[in-house]
Amino acid sequence: METLFIQIKTLLVNAAALVLPPWGVTLSSMIISALAILGLGPLIMMYLTLMERKVLARMQNRIGPNRAGPWGLLQPLADGIKMLTKEDIRPSAADPLLYFLAPILIAVPALMVFAVIPFGKGMTAADLNVGVLYFVALSSTTTLVIFMASWGSRNKYSVLGGMRSVSQMISYEVTLVISVVPILMAAGSLSTQTIVESQSGRWYAATPWGLLSCMIFFICGLAECNRSPFDLPEAESEIVAGYHTEYSGMRFALFYMAEFMNVFSICALTVTLFLGGWQGPLLPSWLWFLIKTYLLIFIVFWFRGTLPRLRADHLMGLAWKFLLPLAVMNIPAAAMSHFLSEPFSTAVPLAILMVSVAVLSFFNKGYAAEKRVYHFTD
């Protein structure tokens, strides 16, 4: 079980070795990994849509999709067929090239980041030694594609959504990168596989600085993939659907797919960096990884089911005035824990972080909601 997927791959590569020259075997090994990822992406997206609808429904005391197949398991397929057969509309004023390219290009980084995610022991498609940076760099290119989509479809709602999306992504990206720094310092590597291996003793989320880092990273990740409560770019009550207002059918499905794959990859990276990746007792490593990732995805949907959308100035305020200083303060805290011995290595970072949270909360008091007085209750 442990090496199930690796064995399958070896089997395929060995089969290829019978007919192909040595260089072809290397190539086919790469292609098998790539195809696995390419197949995984849409599959993940399809079943995340179902999971989201189910979870949200249960939180609202509904049942959710249950018509197509048992427990609605065929619902994603039905949706896919619907999307495929829908009319493909192109606004006459749209920029043809940009409008055509944007949905394709948005899926590319979303799929490419899967290459560095360690799905299990030795199950990283490409164990780059700059893995984390690769992830962040590729997901940052999404902003350009969103610009292409919003500007290319010549719709004011698209442009508004694109502007919102980009300003939000830029703001949170800074915090996202800084929040990873303590982990990189502790692991001494940018490779995701090494980071997971360095957590064999203790998860980084089990340390005060790691926990804070994890929370900041997760919140910023949510904002990066425009998930609720940071879904201002797609705020349907204000700007229709944001940058994909003008898209329909399969093009829209590609945007949707990219969004869900981003959710998955952010959760997977959070697991990799902070929650011990595929480390875990008894069960096979890839199963542990998937369990942890899906728990985090559940939390994402849970947020969606609970929290209302942030106001634009609160969104920016949260990033720049609270999370960013906190992430910066986290770096010296993590360094302290590295250089101090045991009782202090937890206590001192904890003290630093608590003081900084208190100070930041004090300075951000203006954002706190006023205590409401309900005149006609009680």
Partner: protein, 187 residues
């Protein structure tokens, strides 16, 4: 007063309803969805949808006497009645044609209230979708006629009341059969 306490509180609410939806009964905060085509809620007795005609023994003799009161009272004017006549052309006390256009009917129940002969009542039937827009929703006498037994079944307490009243009137009529003028039913 702790930072984010409100968020945690809200998260707990949704988590509770998520968990309850799997493990609790509807009255304890669980799912109260009834999956309609397979399961259905029992309709309340006074639930009213579209009207139907009642007959006592056989469909050829409906209670309806084609008095046209319901057709006149009907706010959207969806009832059409043509009185039947015998071979010599004398009018009979029963309808030759009784059509209700259910696409026009607004389920108000005024016909039921207006009928002095307890002949028209509101039905519980609501699944009347058809593949065609005009003819499938135009119900004729044959479609509308249902037995008193059916009426007792869907609205037992109303049926008991009405049956008792009718029986009383019948008895009175029988008792007064010797005097010349049969007493008309009042109200």
């Amino acid at each position: 007063m702790i930072f984010g306490a409100g968020i945690l509180k809200g998260m707990l609410v949704t988590l509770r309803s998520f968990v309850n939806s799997y493990f609790k009964k509807p009255d304890q905060g669980g799912l109260f969805t009834v999956e309609y085509p397979e399961k259905r809620l029992v309709a309340k007795e006074r639930f009213r949808n579209f009207p139907f005609l009642v007959y006592d023994e056989k469909p050829e003799d409906p209670r309806c006497v084609a008095c046209d009161i319901c057709a006149k009272e009907c706010p959207p004017k969806c009832i059409t009645i043509v009185r039947d006549a015998d071979a010599e052309g004398r009018p009979l006390k029963k309808p030759a044609l009784f059509d209700i256009d259910l696409s026009v009917c607004m389920n108000c129940g005024i016909c039921e209230e207006a009928c002095p002969f307890d002949a028209i009542f509101m039905d519980h039937e609501f699944e009347i979708a058809g593949t065609e827009r005009h003819q499938s929703l135009l119900y004729h006498k044959e479609d509308l006629l249902k037995s008193n037994g059916y009426f007792r079944q869907i609205r037992p307490s109303d049926a008991a009341l009405i049956d008792a009243r009718r029986k009383e009137a019948e008895d009175k009529k029988k008792a007064a059969l010797k005097p010349a003028a049969p007493p008309e039913k009042k109200e």
